[in-house]
């Protein structure tokens, strides 16, 4: 059941990433590329958790969560980048 759930999460995340990829192509707006990358990262983290699938294996789990953390950071960087280029920062 857990693997199925991680599959749902990974798949929906990838779909979101594809949408944002399309938005990036349509608008040339770099922020969408950051969104897309972030969701790819989140998908990768969920896939990682599904592969590890061992709650007792804390050490390995951490790597998956690091990937998730990176995904959020990428998004924040993207928003900062958007502000920079719009002349606010």
């Amino acid at each position: 059941m857990k693997t199925f759930m991680w599959g749902v999460l990974a798949m929906s995340s990838l779909v979101a990433a594809l949408f944002f990829l399309r938005f990036w192509r349509a608008t040339r707006e770099r922020l969408f590329a950051f969104f897309s990358l972030a969701f790819v990262g989140m998908a990768a983290a969920w896939v990682g958790l599904a592969i590890i699938n061992h709650p007792a294996d804390e050490a390995q789990q951490e790597y998956a969560y690091i990937v998730r953390l990176v995904a959020f950071v990428i998004l924040i960087i993207g928003i900062i980048d958007k502000n920079r280029r719009s002349g606010r920062l």
Binding site: F23, L31, K82, N83, S86
Partner: protein, 139 residues
């Protein structure tokens, strides 16, 4: 739409990024052809048979794009063709010639760009929402 593929790349870019209306096209080309003159809004409106408000908003866009500059401030406002780069000038030059030879292609591309802009307007609003403005309400 394959006819518009024959247009040079810089002309397509110029139209896509900086020319949003027929008025802007006409104003730009006129200012460019008569680049050593400084024009008033009323003068442009009379010469092109376009309403002054439309000329005004066309000029705002062209100024923001770095194609036109104010040469004398209000109330006796005058503008002239002052491209921000030689690339822009070259593109405008080619646009002028293309428009003279293939006006339909230019108009077609401008319509396609307009449709494009509407479709992506919501997306641009999304992206612009992330620009953190100084809230007047302090939120």
């Amino acid at each position: 739409m394959s006819e518009t593929d024959d247009l040079p790349e810089d002309v397509r870019a110029l139209l896509h990024e900086h020319i949003e209306s027929y008025e802007q096209l006409e104003v730009l080309l006129l200012l460019r052809r008569e680049r050593y003159e400084e024009w008033t809004v009323a003068g442009l409106a009379t010469r092109l048979h376009i309403r002054e408000e439309l000329v005004g908003s066309a000029l705002d866009g062209l100024k923001a794009s770095g194609l036109v500059s104010t040469t004398a401030a209000a109330p006796a406002l005058r503008v002239a063709y002052r491209p921000a780069s030689s690339g822009l000038d070259a593109a405008a030059d080619r646009l002028d010639r293309e428009y003279a030879e293939h006006p339909i292609r230019i108009i077609q591309l401008m319509s396609a760009n307009a449709i494009d802009r509407v479709r992506t307007a919501a997306l641009h609003t999304f992206a612009d929402a992330f620009v953190l403005k100084k809230d007047k309400k302090g939120g």
